[in-house]
């Protein structure tokens, strides 16, 4: 294949075959897309449907096949015209047809599981799906082998390092490109594991992609996920914290007491609900500070220190709540607390949002526009040999358009909120305080935005605000960790404390700060947990520490420090959450859960290590 382009040789039989293959693949993919859209190939859940009712999965699959068809025809066009772009195009097309084929094979070969028992599915077209999958997989693989033959392999360390920067992505085969990307990511194991587990569960049971299951996965995992963010950052700086579960119990009790009876023993009465929150966070940070200061002052390993505080902090809720019963908010008050928010406050918030939107637009849009202009100019630059320039231009154009539209829509919505609240003329808005913090979606949104923002949540699906807090915190700490000076010092402290100290970083200070950060996030979680089901169980958080460390380690953080990512931990948390819900859905014994999480943890770390060893 190389010779065909580089030396302008005659088209060999192989090249002829590749040309024909691309045409056939393009037409075939078009056909499959058409069949799915027309309802002849049924995928996903189909309850009492007309054939023309297309569900979400079928939209996705037909779109994927349409894109594959477009790409294959594009490759074929280039192969006939002999322009060099045909080469990378045919590589990527055959690569993706192999992948899509593999996914279809998986779908056909995996057992239907509970889906058949629950009688929700149309009779499966397994043979058809199997045939499509096998055809795509085998032909794609053969074509890929042929097309990438003769490309020098980037297996040497030096080449790999250069490949990252100096070699254009299109000079690597898709396999090399993907493995390089994975090798550079701290969370390769988590990415692979996430995709695999997601596919298996969605194929084995149609219930998995239902809003009820998705809501259950996200809501259950969001609070643990918030703790895991802190544990990840702490682990990157070379320490870990076993006391998070106990701390959660302790802080929850404090928060509950602050809200209700105060702590009479020290003369502290009940606090207003807006004050109880920061007070609980301060208590949490104090507990974290104790962890950190013991570690730094005594030099005892964090395992021992936090094992000690694990036991100590747990006694706080056990002693504070007599009889080990569950303390409920309803024991004190009949009504949940209500907030009356002035519309002016909401208007001001919306105005601040508008300013933020304007700022983001000012910072991002001009750059995107220039990039788009540049790429557009590059299309006709002969030196590029047509390498994906049209595609890149198209994609960057779409990104530009979507960004601009998204910003515009948010801005318009904020304006609507402002006009709505101005129109009410000073009438206070009533919101359930607990709903605002961690309410179910569907209630809380509408209350705050006056019905201007409502999304349809099917009854029974449990999406809560904690999901939003979780994702926002992940985003925030991803930026802190990778973009800020503090993040850089965290990596240095874990990676080589001596070097960090030699560069003037106060290693102990960073470690204590991280213990306090973990505690702060535990405090946030305590508040979310207390407000979710207003009350405190003295055993709240028991066993969390290990589950959270599992999430972190699956996400690619090194127990020895210096390596890891918050996004990886997000994936790790999702993996654990999918297992917890998915195993129940497919009707397996729920007691298997811990064992499976354990096995996945080991597998993910082995994968991470393998990928990393390959890269360095």
């Amino acid at each position: 294949m190389l010779a065909f382009f580089e030396e302008n040789a005659e088209a060999s039989t192989g090249v002829q075959l590749a040309r024909i293959y691309m045409v056939l693949l393009g037409l075939g993919a078009l056909l499959v897309a058409e069949q799915v859209l027309a309802g002849w190939i049924a995928l996903g859940e189909r309850i009492n449907v007309l054939r023309s009712d297309i569900n979400f999965i079928e939209w996705v699959v037909s779109l994927a096949f349409l894109l594959l068809a477009a790409a294959a025809l594009r490759a074929a066009w280039s192969l006939w015209r002999r322009d060099r772009a045909g080469w990378p195009w045919s590589q990527w097309v055959s690569f993706f047809s192999t992948i899509i084929g593999a996914v279809f094979l998986m779908k056909a070969l995996l057992p239907g599981g509970i889906a058949q028992i629950s009688n929700l599915v149309a009779p499966p077209l397994d043979t058809l799906i199997f045939a499509i999958g096998a055809l795509l997989f085998v032909s794609g693989l053969l074509c890929y082998r042929f097309v990438t033959r003769g490309v020098q392999v980037f297996d040497e360390k030096v080449d790999k390092a250069q490949g990252a920067l100096s070699t254009a992505a299109s000079d690597m085969t898709p396999g090399q490109f993907i493995s390089l990307q994975l090798a550079q990511s701290p969370s390769a194991g988590a990415i692979i594991g996430f995709v695999f587990i997601f596919l298996v569960f969605s194929f084995v049971t149609d219930l998995f992609l239902q809003p009820t299951s998705v809501g259950s996965v996200l809501t259950n995992v969001s609070t643990k996920g918030i703790v895991a963010i802190g544990v990840t950052i702490l682990m990157i700086s070379g320490e870990f914290d076993l006391s998070v579960g106990s701390m959660l119990g302790a802080v929850s009790v404090f928060y509950m007491f602050f809200l209700t009876e105060g702590i009479p023993q020290i003369g502290l009465g009940p606090m207003p609900m807006l004050l109880a929150m920061p007070a609980a966070l301060v208590v949490a940070m104090l507990l974290g500070f104790i962890n950190g200061i013991i570690l730094v002052r005594t030099g005892i390993p964090s395992f021992i220190v936090t094992l000690g505080t694990l036991l100590i902090y747990r006694t706080i809720p056990l002693v504070a709540i007599p009889g080990g019963r569950i303390l409920r908010y309803r024991d004190y008050y009949d009504e949940f607390p209500q907030l009356w928010i002035s519309p002016w406050v909401l208007t001001l918030l919306a105005l601040a949002g508008l300013v933020a939107i304007a700022y983001v637009a000012w910072r991002t849009l001009p750059g995107l526009w220039r990039g788009q202009q540049f790429r557009y100019g590059e299309i006709h630059n002969a030196a590029n040999d047509g390498h994906f320039k049209t595609t890149q231009t198209l994609i960057s154009g779409v990104i530009l358009l979507v960004t601009a539209l998204a910003l515009l829509i948010i801005a318009v919505w904020l304006l609507m909120v402002i006009s709505f609240h101005l129109g009410r003329g000073g009438e206070l808005v009533q919101v359930g305080f607990f709903d605002l913090i961690n309410g179910r979606w569907g209630f809380s949104f509408e209350q705050v935005t006056g019905g201007l923002f409502s999304i349809f949540i099917p009854p029974g699906a449990n999406f809560r605000n904690s999901i939003i807090w979780w994702l926002l915190l992940v985003l925030l700490f991803q930026v802190v960790l990778t973009q800020s000076r503090y993040g850089n010092s965290v990596f240095a402290v874990g990676g080589n404390p001596g070097a960090a100290r030699a560069q003037g970083i106060n290693v102990n200070r960073v470690k204590v700060m991280n213990f306090m950060l973990v505690a702060l996030l535990v405090g946030v979680t305590s508040i979310l947990e207390v407000t979710r089901n207003p009350g405190v169980d003295p055993l709240k958080g028991d066993g969390w520490e290990l589950e959270v460390i599992a999430m972190t380690v699956i996400g690619g953080a090194l127990l020895s420090g210096g390596y890891g990512s918050v996004i990886g931990t997000l994936l790790g948390a999702l993996i654990v959450g999918m297992l917890a819900t998915g195993l129940v859905i497919i009707g397996m014994n729920a007691r298997l859960f811990r064992g499976v999480v354990g096995a996945i943890t080991i597998l993910a770390v082995v994968l991470n290590t393998l990928v990393r060893r390959q890269s360095t």
Binding site: G498, A499, G504
Partner: protein
């Protein structure tokens, strides 16, 4: 050649430094000085007190007694941070860089340039990469990619980057602790070249080693320490490589040189 006389361009002078750890007398009255733009080889057998002397200088230990004069001013160095403020940079063999971080991030560690996004300060990663590469290039160190992880580089490359970093940030005194003992011949030569380049740029260098052959090519002067005392200072012209090696091993100054060194005589 005597240390007490060149006050004019003294960068560092340590006078009568004693350091006791309980009953262990690690340093027993050492005088040590470094001139500007001078490479001093600090030599001694294992356990002679080289490392203790340097740790006193870099603030990891405080001396039991004695005085440190830096740029003509008496200074009290009680922390590594203070030493850095003065412009003293130490390159330890294993402690120079963080292996899992990129060259650029290592280079700027602790003093990263930032860009402001409103009230938020974020690292300017592009500037970090470009400037780190340019600064290293300036000292003669070619790197493939400033975003490459340090862990994949050889020991010599890591030392070189640490030296280049010290030069870039305008340090005055560079301390190299056994920099070349684990390096191949070719890499050692490179590190020595960069050391020389650092001197050309106005820095003074203390080169700690127990192996004279590693430092003889670039050092201007040797200070030999044995069992907590200084055997003497010798300029390169007055001693041969063999003589220095013998002194380091035996702890005895040859007859020929004794006349010139009153401290060694009074032992």
């Amino acid at each position: 050649m005597n240390s007490m006389q060149n006050n004019g361009d003294n960068l560092l002078e340590m006078r009568d430094i004693h350091k006791y750890f309980g009953s262990v007398r690690a340093l027993r009255g050492i005088d040590f000085h470094v001139d500007r733009q001078e490479i001093v080889g600090l030599l001694g057998d294992n356990g002679a007190g080289k490392s203790t002397l340097i740790k006193v200088l870099t603030g990891f230990h405080t001396p039991t007694s004695g005085e440190i004069v830096f740029e003509g001013e008496s200074v009290y160095i009680d922390s590594p941070h203070r030493a850095r403020e003065l412009g003293i940079e130490t390159v330890y063999q294993d402690l120079a860089l963080v292996p899992l971080m990129s060259i650029a991030r290592n280079f700027w560690l602790g003093q990263e340039p930032t860009r402001n996004f409103g009230p938020v300060k974020l690292m300017d990663q592009e500037q970090m990469a470009v400037e780190a590469a340019a600064a290293l290039e300036d000292v003669g160190i070619h790197i493939r990619d400033a975003n490459e992880v340090v862990g994949s580089m050889s020991g010599g490359e890591r030392q070189s980057i640490a030296i280049g970093r010290a030069v870039y940030f305008g340090k005055k005194l560079l301390i190299l602790d056994e920099p070349t003992s684990a390096l191949s011949v070719g890499e050692t030569r490179k590190v020595l070249e960069y050391t020389y380049a650092a001197k050309e740029r106005g820095m003074s260098v203390i080169f700690i080693t127990h192996n004279i052959s590693q430092v003889h090519a670039v050092a201007d002067r040797f200070t030999i320490i044995s069992r907590g005392r200084k055997l003497g200072d010798f300029t390169k012209s007055e001693v041969s490589e063999e003589e220095v090696a013998t002194m380091v091993m035996s702890g005895v100054v040859p007859e020929r040189l004794r006349l010139f060194d009153p401290e060694a005589v009074d032992d």
